[in-house]
């Protein structure tokens, strides 16, 4: 029983971080049709922004989360304003933006490396201490990560499903031309989506850095896993990304526990291949079917 609780706790903690990363990535793909290779660096910058502020003036956790989200949102908006919007209407947008954001990620990583060096700093904004659930030690930080992810994902779901703003995002994602005909400023929607996804990435970066350490490359692994999650869920499917993040993290946790941590990700990738053979559009992806 303890083993199962341990697997669930670890899986939910990892799943929370994956979900924060994957939901943002999926939101951008679903709305702009853009795979953001710099999403991992958005996470890294969120984590370093909190580290910098906290080192300078000291930050309580809640303010740390605000700073991470603000930093992520700012870099998301800057990416849109300085790069994405000029490429949006290019004929090979999906390929061009993949290369452009990969380039941006390299530049940003180098900048972080130049500014902070490669030393793996610990993230000062975290909560120490443990509690016991069914005999299993669970860190308060894991509980915080779970709570933050739950609040953020519920807030995004509410925003997308229950607000006019969310309706405009979904409408733009489905049919940009028709959204424009309704009076939606699609350029502003894209900017807002980049800010929202950046904010989620920022807070994901903060949460990841509280469990590991800060490093310029810290966003690489979560980006890869978020990408895998998005593909398994069906690219652009925000809800599917959230569900798959937890599903795959629980699987990774179970495999890591029974067979060793090094097998977690390879098995996850094998599962992806099987899923994509079985359902090429992903578990939640659907072909656009319109009744005639």
């Amino acid at each position: 029983m303890e083993i199962i609780i341990q697997i669930i706790v670890t899986g939910l903690t990892m799943g929370s971080m994956y979900a924060l990363a994957a939901v943002g990535l999926s939101l951008i793909y679903g709305t702009l049709g853009m795979f953001n290779m710099a999403h991992g660096m958005f996470m890294t910058l969120g984590a370093y922004a909190v580290f910098t502020m906290s080192s300078a003036i000291g930050l309580p956790l809640i303010l740390g989360i605000v700073v991470a989200m603000a930093a992520g949102a700012l870099i998301g908006m800057a990416t849109h304003l300085l790069m994405v919007r000029f490429m949006l209407n290019s004929p090979e947008f999906e390929t061009n933006i993949l290369v452009a954001t990969a380039g941006l990620a390299i530049v940003l990583e180098d900048l972080v490396l130049k500014t902070y060096g490669g030393y793996p700093y610990p993230q000062p904004v975290r909560i120490e201490g443990i509690m016991r659930i069914g005999g299993v030690a669970v860190t308060y930080q894991a509980m915080v990560i779970l709570a933050v992810a739950a609040v953020c994902i519920c807030a995004v779901a509410w925003l997308l499903l229950r607000t006019k703003f969310g309706r405009a995002i979904r409408a733009t994602a489905i049919n940009r031309d028709a959204a424009q005909l309704m009076g939606v400023r699609t350029g502003t929607v894209y900017l807002q989506v980049m800010a929202l996804a950046g904010a989620l990435a920022g807070v994901a970066g903060l949460m990841i850095s509280t469990l590991t350490t800060l490093s310029p490359q810290m966003g690489g692994d979560p980006l890869l896993k978020a990408f895998v999650i998005c593909v398994v869920a069906g690219l652009g499917n925000v809800w599917g990304a959230g569900v798959c993040a937890f599903g795959l993290a629980l699987l990774e946790s179970a495999i890591g526990f029974y067979f060793g941590v090094r097998f977690g990700f390879p098995v996850m990738l094998m599962l992806v291949i099987i899923v994509l053979i079985w359902r090429p559009l992903g578990l939640f992806g659907r072909e656009k079917v319109v009744r005639l």
Binding site: K164, R167, A168, R170, A171, I174, N175, D177, A178, A179, Q180, L181, M182, G183, V184, R185, K288, V289, V290, R291, L292
Partner: protein, 238 residues
């Protein structure tokens, strides 16, 4: 005479292929104008140019006295020029109600939006029964009703409808045109583009015949009746 919609000498097209060569369309308040003509002669291009998807290479556009030919799509919608495009262009994974609410996107949430929703449901009662259904599960006729209803939700001074009867069964076309007649009786101003003039003859105050990017004939429905030879020449016996 001052026109609500006054578009003069429009020159427009796609990249290096000019389609419209000095087209003028004018619409008075409460009037229904129909632009008819064979396929591929610029009717849809005209609406796409008026709504801002294609740039004006020449000519002017004003709505209620406000110049709009260089304005963005958003500014034109905000000014009250609303385009219901060909082929529905619905938000397929969203419900009927959400699609209709998108039509009122520029209005603040409140009783006015609810009132307009009621008006659309009165005009198309079938949509009320399907209000929570995703639009990709609707029939072609129902989707067309959502498209028109969505246009009606907007604060339109002029509604521009692109081939509202295209691809529909005769019974559904009749239902759509019954709704359009109700709108006309309510004093709405709209511009309808149709390939087949037989339906719009009874609806429109005036008709303009478009051929190869030119307006080659304009007149009332009665005058069109008297000009059957012209119609036959351009439309092939409609």
């Amino acid at each position: 005479m001052s026109f609500l919609l006054d578009a003069q000498d429009i020159v427009s097209g796609y990249l290096h292929r000019p389609v419209l060569h000095g087209v003028t369309v004018q619409l008075a308040e409460g009037e229904v104008l129909s632009v008819i003509g064979p396929n591929g002669h610029g009717k849809t291009t005209l609406l796409r140019t008026l709504s801002g998807f294609l740039p004006f290479r020449g000519g002017t556009l004003s709505l209620a006295g406000k110049r709009l030919e260089t304005s963005s799509i958003f500014a034109r919608v905000e000014a009250g020029l609303v385009h219901v495009p060909q082929g529905d262009q619905l938000f397929t994974e969203m419900s009927v109600e959400e699609n209709l609410l998108m039509g009122a996107y520029l209005l603040p949430n409140g009783p006015e939006v609810d009132r307009r929703l009621d008006t659309v449901f009165t005009l198309f009662p079938r949509l009320k029964d399907r209000r929570n259904q995703p639009t990709n599960s609707l029939s072609g006729g129902e989707r067309r009703m959502v498209g028109i209803g969505r246009g009606l939700m907007a604060d339109a001074k002029v509604l521009m409808l692109d081939e509202p009867s295209l691809g529909l069964a005769p019974l559904l076309i009749e239902q759509i045109y019954e709704a359009l007649r109700a709108l006309r009786a309510g004093g709405r101003s709209f511009l309808v583009v149709e390939e087949n003039p037989s339906r719009v003859m009874a609806l429109a105050d005036r008709l303009s015949l478009m051929d190869a990017g030119h307006i080659v004939w304009s007149g009332t429905a009665d005058e069109a009746d008297e000009s059957r030879d012209i119609m036959k020449t351009y439309l092939g016996g409609h």
